[in-house]
Protein backbone atom coordinates (compact mmCIF):
# COMPACT_ATOMS: atom_id res chain seq x y z
CA UNK A 1 0.00 0.00 0.00
CA UNK A 2 2.67 2.60 0.82
CA UNK A 3 4.48 1.52 -2.33
CA UNK A 4 1.34 2.20 -4.37
CA UNK A 5 1.07 5.63 -2.87
CA UNK A 6 4.58 6.64 -3.83
CA UNK A 7 3.94 5.37 -7.33
CA UNK A 8 0.64 7.13 -7.85
CA UNK A 9 1.07 10.39 -6.04
CA UNK A 10 3.80 12.11 -8.05
CA UNK A 11 1.91 11.42 -11.26
CA UNK A 12 -1.35 12.77 -9.95
CA UNK A 13 0.27 15.96 -8.71
CA UNK A 14 2.31 16.81 -11.78
CA UNK A 15 1.63 20.40 -12.75
CA UNK A 16 0.10 20.71 -16.17
CA UNK A 17 -0.64 24.40 -16.41
CA UNK A 18 0.70 27.26 -14.44
CA UNK A 19 -0.40 30.89 -14.65
CA UNK A 20 2.22 33.27 -13.30
CA UNK A 21 1.31 36.87 -12.48
CA UNK A 22 -0.90 37.23 -15.51
CA UNK A 23 -2.21 40.75 -16.16
CA UNK A 24 -4.34 41.78 -19.10
CA UNK A 25 -5.21 45.32 -20.12
CA UNK A 26 -7.18 46.06 -23.28
CA UNK A 27 -6.63 49.32 -25.13
CA UNK A 28 -9.34 50.35 -27.49
CA UNK A 29 -9.21 53.86 -28.94
CA UNK A 30 -8.63 55.97 -25.86
CA UNK A 31 -10.26 53.58 -23.44
CA UNK A 32 -8.24 51.13 -21.38
CA UNK A 33 -9.90 48.22 -19.65
CA UNK A 34 -8.04 46.36 -16.98
CA UNK A 35 -9.42 42.86 -17.20
CA UNK A 36 -7.07 40.52 -15.37
CA UNK A 37 -5.05 41.47 -12.36
CA UNK A 38 -2.25 39.24 -11.13
CA UNK A 39 -3.73 35.82 -11.86
CA UNK A 40 -1.78 32.97 -10.32
CA UNK A 41 -2.98 29.42 -10.67
CA UNK A 42 -1.67 25.89 -10.89
CA UNK A 43 -3.57 23.07 -12.52
CA UNK A 44 -2.47 19.46 -12.16
CA UNK A 45 -2.34 16.92 -14.92
CA UNK A 46 -5.75 15.30 -15.41
CA UNK A 47 -7.51 17.79 -13.20
CA UNK A 48 -10.95 19.24 -13.91
CA UNK A 49 -10.96 22.92 -12.95
CA UNK A 50 -13.86 25.32 -13.24
CA UNK A 51 -13.31 29.06 -13.57
CA UNK A 52 -16.30 30.72 -11.99
CA UNK A 53 -17.05 34.41 -11.91
CA UNK A 54 -19.59 37.09 -12.73
CA UNK A 55 -20.31 37.98 -16.33
CA UNK A 56 -17.74 40.28 -17.89
CA UNK A 57 -15.07 39.63 -15.27
CA UNK A 58 -12.56 38.21 -17.73
CA UNK A 59 -13.04 34.45 -17.71
CA UNK A 60 -13.05 34.11 -21.49
CA UNK A 61 -10.06 36.41 -21.69
CA UNK A 62 -8.12 34.24 -19.26
CA UNK A 63 -9.09 31.08 -21.12
CA UNK A 64 -8.03 32.62 -24.46
CA UNK A 65 -4.69 33.53 -22.94
CA UNK A 66 -4.24 29.98 -21.64
CA UNK A 67 -5.06 28.61 -25.09
CA UNK A 68 -2.57 30.97 -26.73
CA UNK A 69 -5.04 33.09 -28.71
CA UNK A 70 -4.19 36.21 -26.73
CA UNK A 71 -0.88 37.35 -25.28
CA UNK A 72 -1.11 38.70 -21.74
CA UNK A 73 0.03 42.24 -21.05
CA UNK A 74 2.42 40.83 -18.49
CA UNK A 75 3.11 37.49 -16.86
CA UNK A 76 2.78 34.20 -18.70
CA UNK A 77 1.19 30.80 -18.89
CA UNK A 78 3.33 27.69 -18.75
CA UNK A 79 2.08 24.35 -19.93
CA UNK A 80 4.28 21.33 -19.25
CA UNK A 81 6.89 23.85 -18.17
CA UNK A 82 6.96 25.71 -21.48
CA UNK A 83 5.70 29.25 -21.92
CA UNK A 84 2.62 29.33 -24.17
CA UNK A 85 3.27 31.33 -27.35
CA UNK A 86 0.31 30.38 -29.48
CA UNK A 87 -2.43 27.83 -30.01
CA UNK A 88 -1.41 24.21 -30.22
CA UNK A 89 -3.30 21.08 -31.33
CA UNK A 90 -2.33 19.38 -28.07
CA UNK A 91 -4.82 21.66 -26.33
CA UNK A 92 -8.10 22.43 -27.95
CA UNK A 93 -10.49 25.27 -27.25
CA UNK A 94 -14.20 24.52 -27.55
CA UNK A 95 -16.11 27.65 -28.53
CA UNK A 96 -19.59 26.64 -27.44
CA UNK A 97 -21.24 25.32 -30.58
CA UNK A 98 -20.20 28.35 -32.60
CA UNK A 99 -16.88 26.89 -33.64
CA UNK A 100 -18.13 24.04 -35.84
CA UNK A 101 -17.48 24.72 -39.51
CA UNK A 102 -20.82 25.07 -41.29
CA UNK A 103 -19.29 24.20 -44.66
CA UNK A 104 -18.23 20.74 -43.49
CA UNK A 105 -20.39 17.74 -42.68
CA UNK A 106 -20.35 16.11 -39.26
CA UNK A 107 -17.63 13.77 -40.54
CA UNK A 108 -15.71 16.62 -42.10
CA UNK A 109 -15.76 18.56 -38.85
CA UNK A 110 -14.63 15.66 -36.71
CA UNK A 111 -11.86 14.88 -39.20
CA UNK A 112 -10.79 18.51 -39.49
CA UNK A 113 -7.75 18.19 -37.27
CA UNK A 114 -6.80 14.73 -38.53
CA UNK A 115 -5.46 15.84 -41.90
CA UNK A 116 -1.97 14.52 -41.23
CA UNK A 117 -3.21 10.96 -40.60
CA UNK A 118 -3.46 8.33 -43.33
CA UNK A 119 -6.96 7.90 -44.63
CA UNK A 120 -7.93 4.54 -43.06
CA UNK A 121 -6.85 5.68 -39.62
CA UNK A 122 -8.62 8.98 -40.05
CA UNK A 123 -11.86 7.28 -41.01
CA UNK A 124 -11.60 4.91 -38.12
CA UNK A 125 -11.17 7.77 -35.65
CA UNK A 126 -14.02 9.72 -37.17
CA UNK A 127 -16.32 6.73 -36.83
CA UNK A 128 -15.22 6.23 -33.23
CA UNK A 129 -15.97 9.80 -32.20
CA UNK A 130 -19.21 10.00 -34.16
CA UNK A 131 -20.33 7.09 -32.02
CA UNK A 132 -18.94 8.48 -28.81
CA UNK A 133 -21.03 11.64 -29.05
CA UNK A 134 -24.07 9.82 -30.42
CA UNK A 135 -24.21 11.36 -33.88
CA UNK A 136 -24.56 8.09 -35.80
CA UNK A 137 -26.83 8.56 -38.79
CA UNK A 138 -25.80 12.21 -39.11
CA UNK A 139 -22.35 11.64 -40.61
CA UNK A 140 -23.22 13.41 -43.86
CA UNK A 141 -25.32 16.16 -42.28
CA UNK A 142 -24.26 19.81 -42.33
CA UNK A 143 -24.31 21.72 -39.02
CA UNK A 144 -27.15 24.11 -39.89
CA UNK A 145 -29.40 21.06 -39.89
CA UNK A 146 -28.30 19.98 -36.39
CA UNK A 147 -29.76 21.09 -33.08
CA UNK A 148 -27.74 23.23 -30.68
CA UNK A 149 -26.94 20.26 -28.46
CA UNK A 150 -25.81 18.17 -31.43
CA UNK A 151 -23.54 20.97 -32.63
CA UNK A 152 -22.10 21.18 -29.16
CA UNK A 153 -21.38 17.47 -29.09
CA UNK A 154 -19.92 17.74 -32.57
CA UNK A 155 -17.49 20.40 -31.46
CA UNK A 156 -16.46 18.35 -28.45
CA UNK A 157 -15.94 15.34 -30.73
CA UNK A 158 -13.81 17.41 -33.12
CA UNK A 159 -11.69 18.47 -30.17
CA UNK A 160 -11.33 14.94 -28.75
CA UNK A 161 -10.54 13.42 -32.14
CA UNK A 162 -7.06 14.96 -32.22
CA UNK A 163 -6.40 13.40 -28.82
CA UNK A 164 -5.37 16.60 -27.04
CA UNK A 165 -4.11 16.46 -23.50
CA UNK A 166 -6.00 19.59 -22.50
CA UNK A 167 -9.44 20.96 -23.24
CA UNK A 168 -10.53 24.55 -22.73
CA UNK A 169 -14.28 24.87 -22.56
CA UNK A 170 -15.88 28.31 -22.49
CA UNK A 171 -19.40 28.02 -21.13
CA UNK A 172 -19.93 25.09 -23.44
CA UNK A 173 -23.43 24.33 -22.25
CA UNK A 174 -24.62 27.87 -21.69
CA UNK A 175 -26.88 27.96 -24.74
CA UNK A 176 -28.52 24.59 -24.13
CA UNK A 177 -31.83 23.86 -22.45
CA UNK A 178 -31.60 22.56 -18.90
CA UNK A 179 -32.29 18.92 -19.76
CA UNK A 180 -29.68 18.74 -22.52
CA UNK A 181 -27.30 20.59 -20.26
CA UNK A 182 -27.62 17.93 -17.57
CA UNK A 183 -27.08 15.17 -20.11
CA UNK A 184 -24.05 16.94 -21.56
CA UNK A 185 -22.49 17.37 -18.13
CA UNK A 186 -22.83 13.63 -17.58
CA UNK A 187 -21.29 12.94 -20.99
CA UNK A 188 -18.39 15.26 -20.36
CA UNK A 189 -17.66 13.61 -17.01
CA UNK A 190 -17.85 10.20 -18.64
CA UNK A 191 -15.36 11.27 -21.31
CA UNK A 192 -13.11 12.91 -18.76
CA UNK A 193 -13.08 9.80 -16.57
CA UNK A 194 -12.32 7.61 -19.56
CA UNK A 195 -9.60 9.76 -21.13
CA UNK A 196 -8.29 11.81 -18.19
CA UNK A 197 -7.64 15.01 -20.05
CA UNK A 198 -6.89 18.15 -18.13
CA UNK A 199 -10.01 20.27 -18.44
CA UNK A 200 -10.45 23.97 -17.77
CA UNK A 201 -14.09 24.83 -17.87
CA UNK A 202 -15.48 28.35 -17.71
CA UNK A 203 -18.92 28.88 -16.31
CA UNK A 204 -20.96 31.39 -14.39
CA UNK A 205 -23.27 28.69 -13.09
CA UNK A 206 -22.34 27.79 -9.53
CA UNK A 207 -24.18 24.47 -9.55
CA UNK A 208 -22.49 23.45 -12.75
CA UNK A 209 -19.09 24.22 -11.27
CA UNK A 210 -19.74 22.25 -8.10
CA UNK A 211 -21.18 19.30 -10.00
CA UNK A 212 -18.24 18.98 -12.35
CA UNK A 213 -14.99 20.27 -10.94
CA UNK A 214 -12.21 18.92 -8.78
CA UNK A 215 -11.54 22.53 -7.89
CA UNK A 216 -13.54 25.69 -8.44
CA UNK A 217 -11.57 28.87 -9.01
CA UNK A 218 -13.76 31.75 -7.87
CA UNK A 219 -12.84 34.96 -9.64
CA UNK A 220 -13.60 38.47 -8.45
CA UNK A 221 -15.37 41.14 -10.49
CA UNK A 222 -13.27 43.02 -13.06
CA UNK A 223 -10.36 43.43 -12.93
CA UNK A 224 -10.47 39.76 -12.08
CA UNK A 225 -8.15 38.12 -9.66
CA UNK A 226 -8.41 34.71 -8.04
CA UNK A 227 -10.64 35.29 -5.05
CA UNK A 228 -10.70 31.77 -3.71
CA UNK A 229 -10.09 28.20 -4.75
CA UNK A 230 -12.57 25.63 -3.48
CA UNK A 231 -11.74 21.93 -3.64
CA UNK A 232 -14.78 19.78 -4.28
CA UNK A 233 -13.98 16.62 -2.37
CA UNK A 234 -17.01 14.60 -3.43
CA UNK A 235 -16.49 11.55 -5.63
CA UNK A 236 -18.40 11.20 -8.89
CA UNK A 237 -21.27 10.58 -9.50
CA UNK A 238 -22.18 13.39 -7.14
CA UNK A 239 -25.31 13.44 -5.09
CA UNK A 240 -26.52 16.99 -5.49
CA UNK A 241 -28.70 16.81 -2.41
CA UNK A 242 -25.95 15.57 -0.09
CA UNK A 243 -25.07 17.87 2.83
CA UNK A 244 -21.47 18.22 1.66
CA UNK A 245 -22.56 19.31 -1.82
CA UNK A 246 -24.93 21.91 -0.41
CA UNK A 247 -22.32 23.13 2.02
CA UNK A 248 -19.76 23.66 -0.73
CA UNK A 249 -22.28 25.29 -3.01
CA UNK A 250 -23.54 27.65 -0.34
CA UNK A 251 -19.96 28.47 0.56
CA UNK A 252 -19.36 29.62 -2.99
CA UNK A 253 -22.62 31.55 -3.08
CA UNK A 254 -21.46 33.40 0.04
CA UNK A 255 -18.05 33.94 -1.41
CA UNK A 256 -19.55 35.66 -4.43
CA UNK A 257 -21.79 37.71 -2.18
CA UNK A 258 -25.09 36.24 -3.28
CA UNK A 259 -25.91 34.23 -0.18
CA UNK A 260 -28.86 36.14 1.15
CA UNK A 261 -30.03 37.94 -1.92
CA UNK A 262 -31.47 35.14 -4.00
Amino acid sequence: MPLMETLVKPVALKTKLCAERVDMVFHRDTKTTEVLNDINLEVSDGEFVCLLGPSGCGKSTLLSIMAGFLTPTSGHIRIDGEVVRGPDPRRIFVFQERGVFPWLTVEGNIGFGLFRLPRPEREQRIAYYVKMVGLQGFEKTYPPELSGGMKQRLEVARALAVNPDMLFLDEPFGALDSITRLIMRGELLRIWEAERKTIIFVTHDIDEAVQLADRVVVMSARPASVQQIVSIDIPHPRDISSPRYLELRDGIFKQIGLAHRV
Binding site: A67, F69, G86, P87, D88, P89, I92, F93, F95, R98, G99, F101, P102, W103, L104, F112, G113, F115, Y142, P143, P144, E145, V162
Partner: protein, 215 residues
Protein backbone atom coordinates in the same frame (compact mmCIF):
# COMPACT_ATOMS: atom_id res chain seq x y z
CA UNK B 1 -39.87 41.83 -84.30
CA UNK B 2 -39.92 38.12 -85.15
CA UNK B 3 -39.22 39.11 -88.75
CA UNK B 4 -36.33 41.24 -87.57
CA UNK B 5 -34.79 38.39 -85.64
CA UNK B 6 -35.31 36.02 -88.56
CA UNK B 7 -33.52 38.51 -90.80
CA UNK B 8 -30.58 38.67 -88.46
CA UNK B 9 -30.40 34.93 -88.06
CA UNK B 10 -30.41 34.51 -91.82
CA UNK B 11 -27.44 36.78 -92.19
CA UNK B 12 -25.61 34.98 -89.39
CA UNK B 13 -25.26 38.32 -87.69
CA UNK B 14 -27.24 37.45 -84.59
CA UNK B 15 -25.01 34.64 -83.48
CA UNK B 16 -21.97 36.74 -84.27
CA UNK B 17 -23.25 39.63 -82.13
CA UNK B 18 -24.25 37.43 -79.23
CA UNK B 19 -20.87 35.74 -79.29
CA UNK B 20 -19.09 39.10 -79.50
CA UNK B 21 -20.94 40.43 -76.44
CA UNK B 22 -20.44 37.27 -74.42
CA UNK B 23 -16.78 37.19 -75.37
CA UNK B 24 -16.22 40.69 -73.99
CA UNK B 25 -18.22 40.07 -70.86
CA UNK B 26 -16.34 36.86 -70.18
CA UNK B 27 -12.92 38.45 -70.54
CA UNK B 28 -13.75 41.60 -68.62
CA UNK B 29 -15.46 39.68 -65.85
CA UNK B 30 -12.88 36.92 -65.55
CA UNK B 31 -9.99 39.38 -65.49
CA UNK B 32 -11.74 41.39 -62.81
CA UNK B 33 -12.33 38.22 -60.76
CA UNK B 34 -8.69 37.18 -61.11
CA UNK B 35 -7.39 40.53 -59.91
CA UNK B 36 -10.06 41.83 -57.54
CA UNK B 37 -10.67 38.75 -55.42
CA UNK B 38 -7.11 37.94 -54.32
CA UNK B 39 -6.35 41.62 -53.82
CA UNK B 40 -9.59 42.15 -51.92
CA UNK B 41 -9.04 39.12 -49.70
CA UNK B 42 -5.54 40.33 -48.89
CA UNK B 43 -6.63 43.87 -48.15
CA UNK B 44 -9.45 42.59 -45.99
CA UNK B 45 -7.13 40.34 -44.01
CA UNK B 46 -4.75 43.14 -43.11
CA UNK B 47 -6.58 45.94 -41.37
CA UNK B 48 -3.82 48.43 -42.09
CA UNK B 49 -4.02 47.77 -45.82
CA UNK B 50 -7.70 48.38 -45.66
CA UNK B 51 -7.19 51.74 -43.98
CA UNK B 52 -4.59 52.68 -46.58
CA UNK B 53 -6.70 51.78 -49.60
CA UNK B 54 -10.04 52.91 -48.33
CA UNK B 55 -9.81 56.57 -49.49
CA UNK B 56 -8.94 55.58 -53.07
CA UNK B 57 -11.69 53.02 -53.16
CA UNK B 58 -14.24 55.48 -51.85
CA UNK B 59 -13.31 58.06 -54.50
CA UNK B 60 -13.38 55.57 -57.38
CA UNK B 61 -16.56 53.91 -56.27
CA UNK B 62 -19.13 56.57 -57.31
CA UNK B 63 -17.62 56.89 -60.80
CA UNK B 64 -19.84 55.14 -63.31
CA UNK B 65 -17.91 52.62 -65.41
CA UNK B 66 -19.28 54.47 -68.45
CA UNK B 67 -17.33 57.56 -67.46
CA UNK B 68 -14.25 55.56 -68.46
CA UNK B 69 -15.40 55.36 -72.10
CA UNK B 70 -13.25 58.27 -73.39
CA UNK B 71 -10.21 56.95 -71.60
CA UNK B 72 -10.90 53.43 -72.82
CA UNK B 73 -11.00 54.64 -76.41
CA UNK B 74 -7.93 56.80 -75.91
CA UNK B 75 -5.94 53.87 -74.56
CA UNK B 76 -7.29 50.99 -76.59
CA UNK B 77 -8.96 52.55 -79.63
CA UNK B 78 -12.34 51.42 -80.86
CA UNK B 79 -12.49 47.65 -80.44
CA UNK B 80 -12.75 44.66 -78.17
CA UNK B 81 -10.03 45.80 -75.81
CA UNK B 82 -11.82 49.04 -75.00
CA UNK B 83 -15.05 47.18 -74.24
CA UNK B 84 -13.25 44.60 -72.14
CA UNK B 85 -11.50 47.36 -70.24
CA UNK B 86 -14.82 49.03 -69.47
CA UNK B 87 -16.34 45.80 -68.22
CA UNK B 88 -13.25 45.19 -66.14
CA UNK B 89 -13.57 48.66 -64.62
CA UNK B 90 -17.25 48.07 -63.91
CA UNK B 91 -16.59 44.75 -62.17
CA UNK B 92 -13.35 45.40 -60.36
CA UNK B 93 -14.51 47.63 -57.53
CA UNK B 94 -17.71 45.76 -56.64
CA UNK B 95 -15.71 42.54 -56.52
CA UNK B 96 -12.93 44.14 -54.52
CA UNK B 97 -15.39 45.47 -51.96
CA UNK B 98 -17.18 42.14 -51.79
CA UNK B 99 -13.91 40.33 -51.12
CA UNK B 100 -12.79 42.83 -48.47
CA UNK B 101 -16.11 42.62 -46.72
CA UNK B 102 -16.22 38.82 -46.97
CA UNK B 103 -12.89 38.42 -45.17
CA UNK B 104 -13.72 40.94 -42.52
CA UNK B 105 -16.96 39.26 -41.63
CA UNK B 106 -15.44 35.82 -41.03
CA UNK B 107 -16.23 35.02 -37.40
CA UNK B 108 -13.01 35.03 -35.39
CA UNK B 109 -13.92 31.63 -33.91
CA UNK B 110 -13.39 29.93 -37.29
CA UNK B 111 -9.94 31.41 -37.67
CA UNK B 112 -9.02 30.60 -34.10
CA UNK B 113 -10.34 27.06 -34.46
CA UNK B 114 -8.28 26.63 -37.63
CA UNK B 115 -5.14 27.87 -35.92
CA UNK B 116 -5.88 25.70 -32.91
CA UNK B 117 -5.72 22.55 -35.02
CA UNK B 118 -2.24 23.46 -36.16
CA UNK B 119 -2.95 24.65 -39.70
CA UNK B 120 -0.09 26.36 -41.49
CA UNK B 121 -0.93 29.71 -43.09
CA UNK B 122 -1.51 28.22 -46.54
CA UNK B 123 -3.72 25.51 -45.06
CA UNK B 124 -5.62 28.09 -43.10
CA UNK B 125 -6.34 30.01 -46.30
CA UNK B 126 -7.44 26.92 -48.15
CA UNK B 127 -9.39 25.17 -45.40
CA UNK B 128 -10.93 28.05 -43.44
CA UNK B 129 -10.62 31.41 -45.18
CA UNK B 130 -11.72 30.21 -48.58
CA UNK B 131 -14.80 28.21 -47.53
CA UNK B 132 -15.78 30.93 -45.10
CA UNK B 133 -15.84 33.67 -47.74
CA UNK B 134 -17.35 31.64 -50.58
CA UNK B 135 -21.04 32.38 -49.93
CA UNK B 136 -20.49 36.12 -49.83
CA UNK B 137 -18.28 35.93 -52.91
CA UNK B 138 -20.96 34.09 -54.83
CA UNK B 139 -23.48 36.80 -54.06
CA UNK B 140 -20.94 39.40 -55.17
CA UNK B 141 -20.14 37.48 -58.36
CA UNK B 142 -23.79 37.31 -59.19
CA UNK B 143 -24.39 41.01 -58.74
CA UNK B 144 -21.22 41.86 -60.62
CA UNK B 145 -21.99 39.64 -63.57
CA UNK B 146 -25.26 41.57 -63.84
CA UNK B 147 -23.26 44.80 -63.88
CA UNK B 148 -20.94 43.40 -66.54
CA UNK B 149 -23.88 42.62 -68.76
CA UNK B 150 -25.24 46.15 -68.31
CA UNK B 151 -21.87 47.68 -69.10
CA UNK B 152 -21.20 45.62 -72.23
CA UNK B 153 -24.34 46.87 -73.91
CA UNK B 154 -23.49 50.48 -73.16
CA UNK B 155 -19.88 50.03 -74.17
CA UNK B 156 -20.85 48.48 -77.47
CA UNK B 157 -23.03 51.43 -78.32
CA UNK B 158 -19.97 53.63 -78.40
CA UNK B 159 -16.69 51.81 -78.36
CA UNK B 160 -17.10 48.99 -80.90
CA UNK B 161 -18.97 48.05 -84.03
CA UNK B 162 -20.36 44.65 -83.16
CA UNK B 163 -22.33 43.05 -80.37
CA UNK B 164 -25.84 43.44 -79.07
CA UNK B 165 -25.38 47.05 -77.94
CA UNK B 166 -24.09 47.95 -81.39
CA UNK B 167 -27.06 46.12 -82.91
CA UNK B 168 -29.44 48.43 -81.11
CA UNK B 169 -27.86 51.74 -82.12
CA UNK B 170 -27.10 50.45 -85.59
CA UNK B 171 -30.71 49.34 -86.15
CA UNK B 172 -31.92 52.79 -85.23
CA UNK B 173 -29.32 54.68 -87.26
CA UNK B 174 -29.80 52.51 -90.33
CA UNK B 175 -33.38 53.46 -90.99
CA UNK B 176 -35.20 53.40 -87.69
CA UNK B 177 -35.59 49.62 -87.56
CA UNK B 178 -37.34 49.65 -84.20
CA UNK B 179 -38.33 46.02 -84.62
CA UNK B 180 -34.64 45.19 -84.46
CA UNK B 181 -34.12 47.52 -81.51
CA UNK B 182 -36.79 45.70 -79.55
CA UNK B 183 -35.52 42.32 -80.69
CA UNK B 184 -32.05 43.30 -79.45
CA UNK B 185 -33.45 44.38 -76.10
CA UNK B 186 -35.39 41.18 -75.62
CA UNK B 187 -32.29 39.15 -76.42
CA UNK B 188 -30.25 41.14 -73.95
CA UNK B 189 -32.86 40.46 -71.32
CA UNK B 190 -32.98 36.74 -72.00
CA UNK B 191 -29.22 36.30 -72.05
CA UNK B 192 -28.87 38.34 -68.86
CA UNK B 193 -31.40 36.07 -67.20
CA UNK B 194 -29.57 32.95 -68.38
CA UNK B 195 -26.28 34.28 -67.01
CA UNK B 196 -27.94 34.90 -63.67
CA UNK B 197 -29.47 31.43 -63.60
CA UNK B 198 -26.08 29.98 -64.49
CA UNK B 199 -24.24 31.70 -61.69
CA UNK B 200 -27.02 30.99 -59.23
CA UNK B 201 -26.51 27.29 -59.74
CA UNK B 202 -23.34 27.78 -57.69
CA UNK B 203 -25.54 28.56 -54.72
CA UNK B 204 -26.91 25.07 -54.83
CA UNK B 205 -23.55 23.38 -54.24
CA UNK B 206 -24.04 21.72 -50.87
CA UNK B 207 -20.95 22.86 -49.07
CA UNK B 208 -21.60 26.45 -50.24
CA UNK B 209 -25.14 26.46 -49.04
CA UNK B 210 -24.66 26.83 -45.30
CA UNK B 211 -24.95 30.57 -45.15
CA UNK B 212 -28.27 30.63 -46.98
CA UNK B 213 -29.96 28.09 -44.75
CA UNK B 214 -28.79 29.74 -41.54
CA UNK B 215 -30.00 33.19 -40.47
Amino acid sequence: MVGGIADLVRHGLLLKYVVASLFRVTWGFVLAVIFAIPIGLTIGWYRRAQMAFNPIIQILRPISPLAWIPIAILWFGVGDLAAIFLIFMGCFLPLLLTAINAVQSIPLVYINAGRNFGLRPAELVYRVLYPAVIPKLIVGLRITLGIAWLVVVAAEMIAVSSGLGFLIVDARNAGNRYDLVVAGMVLIGIIGLLLDVGIRSLERVKSFRWSYSED
